[in-house]
Amino acid sequence: MTKVRILLWLPLVAFILVLVVVLSGLLKPHDSTIASKVIGRPVLAFTLPSARFKERPRAFTAPGAGKPHLINLFASWCVPCLAESPQLLALKQSGVLIEGLAIRDANENIKAFLERNGDPYDDILRDDTGAVQVALGSSGVPETFVVDSKGIIRLQHIGEIRAEDVPALIEAVRQAQ
């Protein structure tokens, strides 16, 4: 008799379980941003053409000769990149080294984009196929990586840099000494 009673409660227990699953999904929606797994690892060595010094390829590692810096993935065709350019200029003003990585972009468009919005970059390399973007585990533009003095990637900022993100990034670069 007791066995039957337990079986009677089973559908209710199952229902409550489903309810918990559904409610937890409602209260904490699935976050679809894919964080890069390269944090704590060195920047891979790639030789890329520079957008700044025409057609003089250089290795995509440590532009500031062992100084902590930012790698900013951007493109002239990317609208949020337009929105973050004042923040990048503010970062440059406070002495942060910024290396640009232009994704699937042409020199003349990069040039026009920087003339319009200001140029915060110490150097710009061109990733014409997006291979370096994939190697960085990036899932879009704009994205910014903090690289420490040993060339190890310390932090990934997904999406555009907003005004409120600037102090934290300056602090992250300072700590990456």
Partner: protein, 137 residues
């Protein structure tokens, strides 16, 4: 007068949005098959099990996102260079995490997934057995 720049910007923004496409032609390997059919088959099989990080329900073989094209180019280039598909998968996982692969590995996290069919079969079997026994008696 102060409003003028903002007004101009609001005029420019839709223009910028219209041009929100890469200005470079996609890498040749993003849309061109490898000349060796055996290699292309290997690349294709792998691409169908790699998640596009832009259109997250699609594989990079199905997605038309620029980033998926870039990933296809990486996969094809590495296959052409003689790399094994599972090594390329492992490399991609090391960049983006396990979620990028549609192929579930047997590991503690996925044990329930692999065990579920067996468990369900066993539960169903015992239920059926008890029902048949009751009928006979």
């Amino acid at each position: 007068m102060k409003r003028l720049p903002a007004f101009l910007a609001s005029l420019l923004l839709p223009l910028a949005a219209l041009h929100a496409d890469p200005t470079m032609a996609p890498s040749p390997l993003a849309y061109t098959e490898l000349s060796d059919p055996a290699q292309e088959a290997k690349a294709r099989a792998l691409m169908e099990t790699i998640r596009c990080v832009v259109c997250q329900g699609q594989s990079i073989a199905d997605s038309d996102a620029d980033l998926a094209g870039g990933m296809r180019a990486v996969v094809r280039a590495r296959i052409a260079a003689g790399e094994k598909p599972e090594d390329i998968r492992a490399w991609l996982i090391s960049r983006y995490g396990r979620w990028i692969s549609y192929k579930p590995d047997v590991e503690p996290l996925t044990w329930p997934l692999w065990a579920a069919p067996l468990v369900l079969l066993m539960v169903g079997g015992t239920l059926a057995m008890s029902v048949f026994k009751r009928r006979r008696s």
